[in-house]
Each structure stands twice: as structure tokens, then as C-alpha cells.
């Protein structure tokens, strides 16, 4: 893979900010999820600007560094899951674009929602079902488990909303200053 200097510099800066967010999540325990979400959004930003390959490499570097620098490895794992979700949905959008036509664009838009929830649940449901003792310290009852799964679906809605906002409004305003 051949990267030019600007890509390397901007990606490096994003990686540093990613790790800063992961570390800050360890320090500010009340803001952990927000900061890890913010860290994961950088994967989407890199994908938008530099393509899938660079984004995949960025994600792997972020996960590796996260495991090295973060005092709480669970947070690095959470970041890994969130970043993977962002990477997969962005790649899914790109793949869908290869077969979309003017007539199918509307249907594809709705299909993308289904793809998002499918990708999320492929990561979330096995983690909740198989790692209950690890995540919650005990096995959960059926009702609590159902509530956790449902809360995840609601959480995804807000997470994705915030991601769209960051991409459109925040990065949309800032990208000219970094890339031009």
C-alpha cells in the first residue's frame, strides 16, 4: 500500500486522538462510552477520506495501540467492537453503491438500516450471550438478558445518530482545514 505524506500525517493525528479518547475513557469513568464512541468515529472519518484499506489498517493499529496503552483492556475491547461496526457499515455502504441504480436507491436506503442492525447484532448478541460472566460478573436472568439486548438496539440508534452528526456537521466543517 502506497500512502502519501498527507494521508500518513492526518491518519497519524487521528490515531493519536483515538488513543487519547480511549485513555480519557479510562480516566473519566462517567464518560467512558461517549469517549469510546468518539474514538471509534475516527475509523469512519479515515474511511471517508482515505478509503477502506487505509481505514482497516487504521482500525487494526487503533486496536493494537489501545490494548497496549489503555490500563483497562475492556475499554480497548469495546473500542474494537465499536470501530469494527463503523468499518463494516461503511464497507457495506460502498458495496451497496456498486449495484445501486436510480430506481433502487430508495429501497437500498431502507436496506442499509437493516444492514446496520444486522452488523451490530452479529457483534453484540454473541458477546452478551457468551460473555455474561465476563461482562456482568454473573449469569443474567432471561428478563434481564432481554432488557440488555433491547437496550443495545436503542443504544445503537443513538450511537449511529451521533456518528452521522459527527460526519456531517463536525467533520464536514473541519475537513477543509486538515486536508487542503
Amino acid at each position: 500500500m502506497h500512502l502519501n505524506a498527507k494521508k500518513m500525517a492526518v491518519s497519524g493525528l487521528m490515531l493519536a486522538l483515538t488513543e487519547a479518547c480511549i485513555l480519557a475513557g479510562s480516566v473519566l469513568e462517567t464518560n467512558t462510552l461517549f469517549l469510546l464512541a468518539a474514538a471509534s468515529y475516527f475509523v469512519g472519518i479515515v474511511k471517508r477520506e482515505f478509503g477502506s484499506r487505509v481505514a482497516a489498517a487504521f482500525y487494526l493499529a487503533g486496536v493494537l495501540l489501545g490494548f497496549i496503552v489503555s490500563p483497562n483492556k475492556m475499554y480497548a475491547l469495546t473500542y474494537a467492537a465499536m470501530g469494527l461496526y463503523i468499518l463494516l457499515i461503511e464497507i457495506a455502504w460502498e458495496w451497496m453503491g456498486r449495484t445501486v441504480t436510480e430506481e433502487t436507491a430508495g429501497k437500498y436506503g431502507k436496506l442499509f438500516w437493516a444492514v446496520k442492525y444486522a452488523v451490530f447484532n452479529v457483534l453484540y448478541i454473541p458477546a452478551v450471550l457468551l460473555m455474561q460472566e465476563f461482562l456482568f460478573g454473573r449469569r443474567l436472568g432471561a428478563l434481564v438478558l432481554a432488557a440488555v439486548l433491547l437496550a443495545g438496539q436503542v443504544g445503537l440508534f443513538f450511537y449511529d445518530y451521533a456518528y452521522g452528526y459527527v460526519q456531517r456537521e463536525l467533520w464536514g466543517k473541519l475537513r477543509g482545514r486538515f486536508l487542503d
Partner: protein, 211 residues
């Protein structure tokens, strides 16, 4: 990398299968191998051709390997339905550069071609799209479609660009995100509140106990 078209060097068409490429490579390697041209007065030329054959084969194999994971925007490198492309060596070199993902060089060659038909606009759109010049790519793709409305490849590419352009421009949730003003803040009260709370917590305080 040699500037010659690798398919021209191996004397095969661009649509040749991997087996055909390998067969052509073996035949030409046998023909121009230095050991087979020891007593040949043109041994130097044969050696040069041998190296060209090696490079051409490596380049084609590398391009085909990279092709499965290539950039977001793909195109069909055939010359069908276009007499302009068949006779113009510059267009051939554009395709070679595009296959090698050297889009900047492809654009340079395109800009040197005076006649701009639908294929020109399409190739320029693909190169610009892969360089991140999405607005220009969309305009050029639209131009290609308007010049050749019945070309499904051009229409599909334009649809793909329009689809990708929608990703970060429209909100699927409805509503606005506040005004685009120059004041401090993101324009979204939830985001501003979270930022302020996070900063307070960094300083040891807590703005909102619920977040």
C-alpha cells in the same frame, strides 16, 4: 515499471485469462531467454525483450491480484463500443495507469487528449473519484451519461457516485442540526452539553450528573 502496455508486450488481449497470460509469458520467456540466444547476434536485444516480458508478466499479475481489493470505483477496461479508444494509444496508457491505480498519471494523460467524448468523461470521472475529487467526478459522470444515455456502465457509475454522495449529506433521521453559525459550539445542544460536561470532569467538576 516499464511504460509499455504489458498486454502489448505479451501480445495478448486485456481480457485474456490468467492461463493465457501464463502461456504467453512462458512462450516468450523461452524465445527470448539469454540461454536460448547465446549464438544470436541480437542477443542483447533478446535479453532486453526478456526483461520486458518478465516485467510485463509481473505487472499484469500484480494488477490482477490487487484488483480484488482495489479502490472503491471500478470500471470495465474493455474497448467495446468505442472506436476512439481502440486507435488511441494515449487511451491505452490511461487504462494501464488506471489498472495500476495511478490515477494522477491517468488524469495527466487524459488532459492531453483533445477530443472529449463520453468515454473520456467516464475515465476522467473514475480517476477523479478515486482521487477523492467527488464533485468533479459526479459532474463528469453526468456529462458522460448525457452524451451516451444508453450506456449502462456510465449510468451505473453515476448512480454509484450519487449513492456515495448521499452518505454524508443527508440525514436519515430528519430535521436540521441547527444553524451553521460561526459562534463557539457545534450547533447541537446535546453535543455542546456533552463537550462541556466532559471538560468539567477533566477539571475535576461535574456539569451534569446524569451524563
Amino acid at each position: 515499471m516499464s511504460s509499455k502496455n504489458p498486454y502489448y508486450v505479451l501480445r495478448i488481449s486485456r481480457d485474456a485469462s490468467d492461463d493465457e497470460v501464463k502461456r504467453a509469458y512462458r512462450e516468450l520467456s523461452r524465445k527470448y531467454h539469454p540461454d536460448a540466444n547465446v549464438d544470436n547476434p541480437l542477443a542483447d536485444l533478446a535479453e532486453e525483450r526478456f526483461k520486458e516480458v518478465q516485467e510485463a508478466y509481473d505487472q499484469i499479475m500484480k494488477e490482477r491480484e490487487d484488483g480484488s481489493g482495489q479502490g472503491a470505483y471500478q470500471y470495465d477496461g474493455s474497448y467495446q463500443n468505442d472506436s476512439h479508444g481502440k486507435d488511441d494509444p494515449r487511451m491505452q496508457s490511461v487504462y494501464t495507469y488506471m489498472n495500476a491505480r495511478q490515477y494522477r498519471e491517468a488524469l495527466n494523460v487524459l488532459n492531453s487528449i483533445p477530443g472529449r467524448n463520453a468515454q473520456w468523461y467516464y475515465m476522467s470521472a473514475v480517476a477523479n473519484a478515486n482521487l477523492g475529487n467527488n464533485v468533479m467526478a459526479r459532474d463528469q459522470a453526468a456529462q458522460a451519461v448525457s452524451m451516451e444515455p444508453n450506456n449502462p456502465q456510465y449510468r451505473q457509475f453515476l448512480s454509484q457516485l450519487q449513492w456515495n454522495g448521499r452518505r454524508y449529506q443527508t440525514t436519515p433521521y430528519g430535521g436540521n442540526f441547527g444553524s451553521h453559525n460561526d459562534s463557539c459550539g457545534t450547533g447541537n445542544i446535546c453535543c455542546d452539553l456533552w463537550c462541556a460536561d466532559t471538560l468539567c470532569e477533566c477539571m475535576g467538576g461535574d456539569l451534569c450528573s446524569c451524563i
